[in-house]
């Protein structure tokens, strides 16, 4: 069964550094998402992406964040200047159609900012 994959599984970075988290959505899916989960808290929506543009973003998704689909298979989340509070598990998801369709999640990337 097709799966969403994410790399790396764990990323450690220094505060102020840029990080790029990578995701490979399910191949025929058209909608892509990023969520994050700070330890002990809820999974929170960050952004959705469709047709090469952001379709929705949360208040968390500020100018420090950006997303890109650089080729036909990858979907990336970039954090330009990481802060301590960016430490979290970041989940990528994809769906074939819009929110009425099930979102399939990747295993997550644990980001630790020191």
């Amino acid at each position: 069964e097709p799966e969403v994959t994410q790399t790396p599984s764990h990323q450690v970075t220094q505060m102020g550094q840029e990080v790029i988290l990578r995701c490979v959505p399910i191949s025929n899916h058209l909608y892509f998402y990023w969520y994050r989960q700070i330890l002990g808290q809820k999974v929170e929506f960050l952004v959705s992406f469709y047709n090469n543009e952001i379709s929705e973003k949360s208040e968390i998704f500020d100018d420090q964040f950006s997303v890109e689909r650089p080729d036909g298979s990858n979907f990336t989340l970039k954090i330009r200047s990481t802060k301590l509070e960016d430490s979290a598990m970041y989940f990528c998801a994809s769906s074939l159609t819009d929110s009425t369709d099930t979102q399939y999640f990747g295993p997550g990337t644990r980001l630790t900012v020191l």
């Binding site: 969520y35 929506f45 959705s48 929705e56 819009d98 979102q103 997550g108």
Partner: protein
């Protein structure tokens, strides 16, 4: 704004027994979708079951079934004949049927199935 509440942080059940996980939500909308996702240790979230709000019939998937009470805004998950492989974190999630792409999650219930 929509919210999802899971009031049971942890639960345990004996193998082969039945367990019910609770989820309540709040919305003023009438058309939406509800989900239960399972996240085994160090694995990704996988869909367990999905319910469309306009359907009165409760969704079932093998040993998993829901009790969807729309008026009470309640969406509980029942796991019958619990198996060791059911040990996982279970998340309840909500999304509107239009106007948004985001899922809203509860805080999760950690379920442990005991041998």
């Amino acid at each position: 704004a929509q919210t999802v509440t899971q009031s049971q942080p942890e639960m345990s059940v004996q193998e082969a027994e039945t367990v019910t996980l609770s989820c309540t939500y709040d919305t003023s909308e009438s058309n939406y979708y509800l989900f239960w996702y399972k996240q085994p240790p160090s694995r990704q979230m996988i869909l367990v079951i999905r319910q469309e709000a306009y359907k009165q019939q409760n969704a079932t998937e093998n040993r998993f079934s829901v009790n969807f009470q729309k008026a009470a805004k309640s969406f509980s998950l029942k796991i019958s004949d619990s198996q060791l492989g059911d040990t996982a974190m279970y998340f309840c999630a909500f999304t509107l049927s239009s106007g948004t792409y985001k899922y809203i999650f509860g805080t999760g219930t950690r379920l442990k199935v005991l041998a």
